[in-house]
Assembly symmetry: C2
Homo-oligomer: 80 residues x 2
């Protein structure tokens, strides 16, 4: 089972990487961009487990290691 995890900064947390991308896009002449936020994307291949077990493992990963819950949110999808 594969988990696709997205980790994003919470609203209100400054995102200098996103701002740098936004400036670079504008320097390239790409217009119409109101806001850019950069986050992390992590794909985890889990050994054969039930969906419920996989969900539990992924929640634990995110809470304990991947996301800093003070400034980051996480979301994930499971796929077979």
């Amino acid at each position: 089972m594969k988990a696709r995890i997205r980790i994003t900064l919470k609203n209100g947390v400054l995102d200098p990487q996103g701002k740098a991308i936004q400036n670079a896009l504008s320097a390239l002449g790409i217009t119409g961009v109101d806001d850019v936020r950069q986050g992390k994307y992590i794909e985890v291949q889990l050994a054969n487990t039930s969906e419920e077990q996989a969900r539990e493992t992924v929640e634990r990963m995110c809470r304990d290691l991947l996301a800093n819950s003070v400034i980051e949110n996480y979301a994930y999808e499971l796929a077979p």
Copy 2:
């Protein structure tokens, strides 16, 4: 319109960040993890445009700035 862009390393490209996460997970006692790959996740808020125009803008962003097409793939979804 909002674009959610995922940038991942191509298969076969070494991913030391992913390996570090995998080792850290195992050190935390989280088992059953076969593989971890880290990528980037970028949310772009586009000024009001048609879906077709937005798709074109996002393709251009990914090709010209966000993804290194030698070693990375990109995928994205558009949401209103």
